[in-house]
């Protein structure tokens, strides 16, 4: 038997961050640095749902930015984790994603 409550909370947290970021848009701006720091750890997470939500949150964070310089900062912070995630086993399961990256 597996105790799944901690897992349910973790999954709900990743979904909640994504939803709030998408819903409140620019009002999310002050929380971007804290969020970037957390979500980058989960880009290559072995639970695919959490990895996907983290990557989608990244898109939401870019929408919450005030200007292009903020966007550049986010991408600079995320790029190493993003590249690592692309090469991780979780994303390799998705053949289309890998093909689009390789070409």
């Amino acid at each position: 038997m597996f105790d799944t409550s901690a897992f349910a909370v973790k999954l709900a947290a990743s979904t909640t961050i994504f939803n709030i970021c998408r819903n409140i848009e620019k009002a999310f701006y002050p929380y971007i640095p804290y969020t970037v720091e957390k979500i980058t750890k989960y880009f290559g997470f072995h639970v695919k749902e959490i990895a996907k939500k983290s990557l989608k949150t990244l898109k939401g964070l870019l929408m919450a930015c005030q200007n292009e310089s903020d966007m550049a900062d986010i991408l600079a912070n995320c790029l190493p984790s993003l590249l690592e995630a692309v090469h991780s086993s979780t994303l390799k399961e998705d053949g289309n994603f890998i093909v689009s990256v390789e070409y």
Binding site: A6, N23, I39
Partner: protein, 173 residues
């Protein structure tokens, strides 16, 4: 349990008739809060009732979105949820359902949800970092564990398949 079914029925009705349900919220919300205040989280059945009550509150809040004074009502509900979150353990399944309710509220309030962020966001980020461990129990402990925790039982063949796929020695999540 009958109470759980009744709560699910209220959730479904409020979701289906949507904003039309708002006029009845005065009659339901105090009872739902009473359930959370009085039914202890001691076994799976009671946990499920509590989870259904929180879910139901989320649906009722959604149905109230066009009501005059919605923001004041949301203030009160959010204060209740934030206070409740502090009383329960970090890995309690109620945390997950409360966070779902936050998502619902934010979808209606949009940028006005900003005022709750300092109170809820540190907790949400903390929840994302919660450590998930694989814990297995002996067959004879199943009944006792099922009473206490929100848990999932999987067959041994599925377990073996997961281990094989993940190529790890003992971790699934």
């Amino acid at each position: 349990m009958l109470l759980e079914e009744a709560l699910n029925a209220i959730s479904v009705v409020s979701a289906v008739i949507d904003t039309e349900f708002a006029k009845y919220y005065h009659e339901f919300l105090p009872g739902l809060k009473h359930i959370l205040d009085t039914i202890p989280n001691t076994d799976e059945k009671k946990t499920n009732i509590r989870l259904s009550a929180i879910e139901c509150m989320g649906f009722i809040m959604t149905s109230m979105r066009t009501l005059e004074g919605f923001e004041q009502e949301v203030d009160a509900m959010m204060e209740y949820f934030i206070g409740h979150q502090k009383k329960i353990p970090k890995d309690d399944p109620e945390q997950a359902v409360i966070m779902d309710a936050y998502s619902q509220v934010s979808s209606h309030l949009k940028e006005k949800f900003d005022k709750y962020m300092p109170h809820i966001f540190p907790g949400v980020l903390e929840a994302l970092d919660i450590e998930v461990k694989l814990v297995t129990h002996k067959n004879e402990d199943f009944k006792e564990m099922a009473k206490k925790k929100y848990a999932m039982t999987v067959s041994i063949s599925y377990y073996a398949k997961l281990i094989f796929n993940r190529e790890t020695s003992n971790q699934i999540f």
